[in-house]
Every structure is written in structure tokens, then in C-alpha cells.
């Protein structure tokens, strides 16, 4: 899956979980900048990503998958074509 596709699909996931975020701010979103990004939102985001990308995300890495960028990198390296 291309990086562009990963980012587009990931943006869709962020829109679903954080509907108040503007599209322009999603690439820079992180647990530190989004007030609604608490532990339950993090779980919801990973489940939505699993659904959207049809892949299992390693929940033990929940703490480090805490930004759009880190999730995009993780997915780009883990999701098969």
C-alpha cells in the first residue's frame, strides 16, 4: 500500500474518532495536541484502524502509537499490499 493511500485511509480513521478535528490539522494530531485523545479514544482509534486497514495492530505498542505520524509509519511498514 502506498504512503499516500495509507495517509488517506488514516485520515478517514481520525475523522471518525475525532470528528471535530479539521482535515488540515489531522496530519499534526497527537495525544499531546488533541484533548479528546485519552486512553479510550486511543483504543477506539486502533480498532477503527484495524477495521479500515483489515490488519491487526499490536496493542502493546499503544503508548508509542500516539500521533498521526507514528501511526502512519507503523501502518506503512506493517500493512501488506
Amino acid at each position: 500500500m502506498s504512503e499516500v493511500t495509507v495517509r488517506e485511509k488514516l485520515t478517514k480513521c481520525f475523522r471518525a474518532v475525532f470528528p471535530t478535528l479539521l482535515d488540515a490539522t489531522i496530519p499534526g494530531a497527537s495525544a499531546a495536541t488533541v484533548a479528546a485523545w485519552d486512553s479510550l479514544a486511543a483504543i477506539t482509534l486502533l480498532h477503527v484502524i484495524e477495521e479500515e486497514f483489515q490488519t491487526a495492530v499490536d496493542f502493546d505498542r499503544l503508548a508509542e502509537l500516539n500521533s498521526f505520524e507514528s501511526l502512519a509509519e507503523y501502518l506503512f511498514s506493517h500493512v501488506e499490499e
Binding site: 477506539t44 484495524e50 496493542f59
Partner: protein, 576 residues
């Protein structure tokens, strides 16, 4: 439903438009996706409302239910799980597993179920309650191997079954079918242990969807269908009777035609619960009558009405049946083994559910029976369900629509009609809300109500509720009309008035107006009328009083009523 779709559904419904529909989701675990899916499924059922799902305290299901005030919510959904009955039956407690604990766990489960029963019964007096029984597999806490059901495990399951049966008897409680849930969510794919240990949320995403959908369906069930129209050849029986003769068609094991016997049995059961069953068949009626005269037939011909057996297009037969029943096509199911006949009826009546009888596919036949049960299933049966067919048949035998005034007067004067007016009956009588929410034609404004909303209408001392029953020499119609409103100075404000279409042409509506004027001693009745696509019969009733059918809220004075009311032949009995 996918999690993304559920989140979007809730987000799109967040606009301030629409009245709120507050629901309590009571569970002992972190509600997370179950809250999302329950909210989304409810939202899809009531798109004009804003569903707001509230939740209770983690790990304290019984306390959540005991503390809940019925004023803060319109419905309660309970997702019970094993740790709510004993924390040792979950994975976040280390209280001990094994032989030393088993008997005590079983005792604790019994005590917890008793406490929950009491809390649920109390809540259900005020708001509808839906319960999902423990749906996760029991943990490996018992000494017997997993393939064997040991005593402690069976004792727990038996106590749970008693608990569920006790709840199912309560008018305000409904219990989700564990069997249906098992079909939709395989047992081995329900638990997400990682999420449970990380966050206290135990359900896999698909299982949360299944439980949320099940609870939502119990709280906001679809209106059951009212009538079923069936073909005969290769449906009610195997074979084409016109070709093989009435003795050769079959519906039994010996003739490999048992599915047709099961279909007859299904139809007979439906008639027993008040569903209207009619026949639309291209056949010779004499030959068909000879089949129904056979001693081994399971479907009594007297329970079928009308019987449209001729060679005309089935869509025409269906039209005559709908007219005889006086129900809308959206309340009707048509079953035939011929895709062509189904298509012909569907083209003429697109609102009718047209279902294929798959005569050579056993699995598909069973699926059809289950679909029929789902479409017609009712939680509770009322006396009126027994009367329905008899009163419709009587109406067809003694048609009163379009007859001249003098002929109608002659008919009504000898009918021996008794109208029973029950003022302020128990609001919990399920027939009342059923009439209010299912009646389309004689309906003041088409407003539908949840149980909780309906009950709250009568908190004020100035409010009234009138339940009207009717009987004449042709038989009882049962409870057929509901009026509700409140007193305002010298007038009466009526905000609900529905009457079953089976009660038309008997001047019962005029009798109701007369009752309101005389019982309350008021000089004016004000009606919160609103036109709907189907309430023309209501408008027509008031045209004589107003000169034209109303288009908006209106009032009728006692003088107007007395000037235009036709002669009444109703004996009125009042229960206060």
C-alpha cells in the same frame, strides 16, 4: 455495522434538532464500543431523535440499577456479564479458581441474580428495560474439563435461566435471545482478552455490534406485520391440486412434503396470535374447498379470510384482500412459490414484503419460517388479537361503508352495541400504547411515543386517559380506541386520539365525543390535530362539524357537536 459507521452515525446525529432520547446503558465493564454501537443502532431506528447514551459506574451494575431514577432516562439497556455475578468469573480479579471456590461462586451468583432481579423489576415499572444475559464464555474456573459441564457450572446456568424467565414475565422487561446472538456472534470470537486487561472492556468489535443491535431492537422493536397472504399450490401443500386432485396433494413425511405441513403449522400458529391470513391462488375454488375439507389438513379454513381463489392476476386478489382487511400494504407479507407471481404483486404493491416459498430447498424453507416469525412476532398477546379475524369477517359480511343514512341507522339500531369507557386505566396496559403507536387511519396526529414518554403524559392531575372497548351482537372488538389529553379551564385539550380501523362505521367516534362532553362537563374540545399521509378517515369524521376536514389544530363546541352528531345507538358503560 462497522465501528466507523457507528461513530459517524452518532456524530451526524449530534445536531441540536430533535428531542433527546436518553438511554441508560448499564454494564459492569467499560462500555466503550458497546456504548457506540447501542447508540448508533438506536439512532438508526429513530432518526428524528437525538439518542444520548448514559452509563453507570464501572464494576457496580447492581448499584447502577438501584440508583437510577426513571425520570432521567427513557429506556434501560443492560449488558450483564459473569463478573457482575461474581468477580472471580472475570479476568481482572485474582480471587481464586478451582474446587475450593466453585460452590461459593455458585452461591454468590444466585445471590447477585436475586439482587439484580429486584432492581430490574423496580426500574421496569417506569421505563422499558432490555437485558442481554452473560454472553462471554465462562472462564476456565471449574475443575471439570472444558468439554464436560460440571455441577457448579450447570447450577450457575440453571440459576441464570430462572432469572431470565422471571424477567421475561415482567411487562416492562425484554430479554435478548441467547440463541440468536450465538448465530450472529460465534462464542469463540466474543472475548477480547487484551482489551479487557488493558481497559476493562471485554468485547471484540463484532460482538459489541451484535449485543448493541440486540438491545436496540428490544428497546425500539419494529412494528409487527398484520397480515399474510399466501399461495396454495406448492406452498400450503405440495403439488398442483388442479392437476393431481385434492386427495393427491400432500404435506406429510410419507410424501416427502413435510415442509408444507410445517408451513401450515406456521400459518395456524400465526392465526392463533391474531395475524390475518388470506389466500390468493389461481385455482378452481371447488377443488380447493375439497382440500380444506380433508381431515388431515392442519390449517383451518375458517381461520383464513378472505379466500381469493380465481384466475385473475394475483395483484387484483391482493387488492381485494387489503380492502377486506382495511390495512395498508406496508403491514402485509405475500408468500408464493412463483418468482413471477411475486414480481407481479410487487410491481402493483411495492410496499408489500414479497417472499419466495423455496419448495426444494430445506435450509431456505427454514429460513423463511424464521423470517415469518420475526416479521409477525409479538412480545405479548392481547385479547384483541383473538377478536381481530371475527370482527373483520363480520365487517365484510355486514358492510356499513357507503350505505345510506337510513339503512345504516336501521343496522346500528339492532346491533346491540355496548361501548365501555374506562377512564384512567393502568398506563401500563400494553394494548393502549400498541393502539397509539400502530394506528394510522383514525389518528389525531400520527405521533408515536416511547413507553417512558407515554407514562409521563399522565403525571399531571389535570390529564386524562380514556380507553374504549366495544361489543355488539356480532361479537366483541375489544379495546379499540384511546383518547388522552388534559383539562384546560372549561375546555378539554385532546392530544391523542386513535381508533382501530375495525371499529369504523359504528359511530363509535361520535360516542367518544359525546362521552368527553358529558363526562367532563366541558363546552369545547380542542384537538392537537396534524395531517399525516394516512389520517384522512380522521379528517373526514370532523368535516360535518367544521364544514371541511381540518388541516391544523381545531376545536369543536358542544353546540356544533349536538347540531351535527348523527343519532347514536350505543349503550355506554363507564368504568372510572
Amino acid at each position: 455495522m462497522k465501528l466507523t459507521e457507528a461513530l459517524q452515525t452518532l456524530h451526524e446525529a449530534e445536531s441540536p434538532q430533535g428531542t433527546a432520547f436518553p438511554v441508560l446503558l448499564a454494564c459492569g465493564f467499560t462500555p466503550l464500543h458497546l456504548e457506540t454501537f447501542l447508540g448508533a443502532h438506536l439512532q438508526k431506528s429513530i432518526p428524528g431523535r437525538r439518542v444520548k447514551v448514559g452509563t453507570g459506574l464501572y464494576g457496580d451494575l447492581a448499584g447502577t440499577l438501584e440508583r437510577q431514577s426513571s425520570k432521567d432516562t427513557q429506556a434501560v439497556a443492560i449488558a450483564l456479564e459473569w463478573p457482575d455475578l461474581d468477580a472471580r468469573l472475570g479476568y481482572r480479579s485474582l480471587g481464586g479458581w478451582g474446587p475450593a471456590e466453585e460452590a461459593e461462586i455458585a452461591d454468590q451468583v444466585a445471590a447477585a441474580l436475586e439482587r439484580l432481579s429486584d432492581a430490574i423489576e423496580r426500574l421496569s415499572d417506569a421505563v422499558p428495560v432490555a437485558v442481554s444475559l452473560p454472553s462471554l464464555p465462562l472462564p476456565p474456573a471449574f475443575h471439570a474439563p472444558g468439554w464436560e459441564a460440571g455441577k457448579a457450572e450447570l447450577t450457575i446456568q440453571a440459576d441464570l435461566a430462572k432469572f431470565a424467565a422471571r424477567l421475561a414475565e415482567c411487562p416492562g422487561v425484554s430479554v435478548a435471545s441467547p440463541q440468536r446472538l450465538l448465530e450472529q456472534s460465534p462464542l469463540g470470537q466474543r472475548l477480547d482478552l487484551q482489551a479487557e486487561l488493558l481497559t476493562g472492556y471485554p468485547y471484540s468489535v463484532p460482538h459489541a455490534d451484535a449485543v448493541g443491535a440486540a438491545l436496540a431492537r428490544l428497546l425500539l422493536p419494529a412494528a409487527p406485520k398484520k397480515g399474510l397472504i399466501t399461495d396454495l399450490d406448492d406452498t400450503v401443500w405440495s403439488g398442483v391440486v388442479g392437476e393431481v386432485g385434492p386427495e393427491a396433494v400432500a404435506w406429510d413425511l410419507n410424501n416427502h412434503a413435510q415442509v408444507h405441513g410445517l408451513y401450515q403449522q406456521t400459518l395456524a400458529a400465526l392465526t392463533g396470535q391474531g395475524v390475518l391470513v388470506a389466500v390468493a391462488s389461481k385455482n378452481n375454488s371447488d377443488i380447493v374447498n375439497r382440500v380444506f375439507a380433508r381431515r388431515d389438513i392442519l390449517l383451518d379454513k375458517d381461520k383464513i379470510f378472505p379466500m381469493e381463489v380465481d384466475w385473475r392476476p394475483k395483484s387484483e386478489s391482493v387488492g381485494r384482500i387489503l380492502a377486506a382487511w382495511n390495512v395498508g400494504p406496508d403491514s402485509v407479507v405475500f408468500i408464493d412459490d412463483s418468482p413471477m407471481e411475486l414480481a407481479e404483486v410487487k410491481a402493483a404493491w411495492p410496499e408489500i414484503d414479497c417472499l419466495l416459498f423455496p419448495k426444494n430447498d430445506y435450509a431456505a424453507t427454514l429460513a423463511l419460517f424464521r423470517t415469518v416469525r420475526d416479521l409477525f412476532g409479538k412480545r405479548r398477546l392481547a385479547d384483541e388479537d383473538r377478536f381481530r379475524l371475527a370482527s373483520i369477517r363480520t365487517a365484510a359480511t355486514h358492510p356499513q361503508d357507503n350505505v345510506s343514512g337510513s339503512r345504516q341507522d336501521m343496522f346500528l339500531s339492532q346491533a346491540g352495541a355496548v361501548l365501555t369507557a374506562q377512564f384512567n386505566p393502568p398506563v401500563t396496559d400494553s394494548r393502549i400504547l400498541e393502539l397509539v403507536n400502530k394506528t394510522n387511519q383514525f389518528n389525531l396526529n400520527g405521533l408515536r411515543h416511547t413507553e417512558a414518554e407515554w407514562r409521563r403524559n399522565f403525571d399531571s392531575r389535570s390529564s386524562f386517559l380514556l380507553l374504549v372497548s366495544y361489543e355488539d351482537k356480532y361479537g366483541p372488538l375489544g379495546k379499540i380506541a384511546v383518547l388522552a389529553g388534559k383539562r384546560q379551564d372549561s375546555a378539554l385539550q385532546v392530544y391523542t386520539w386513535v381508533m382501530s380501523c375495525r371499529a369504523f362505521s359504528r359511530r363509535i367516534e361520535h360516542g367518544c365525543l359525546d362521552l368527553l362532553f358529558s363526562h367532563f362537563g366541558v363546552g369545547e374540545l380542542r384537538f392537537n390535530f396534524a395531517p399525516t399521509p394516512r389520517n384522512d378517515p380522521f379528517r373526514a369524521c370532523f368535516a360535518p362539524f367544521l364544514g371541511v376536514g381540518p388541516e391544523k389544530p381545531f376545536s369543536v363546541t358542544r353546540a356544533q357537536f349536538e347540531e351535527h352528531c348523527p343519532r347514536l345507538y350505543l349503550k355506554v358503560e363507564t368504568i372510572v
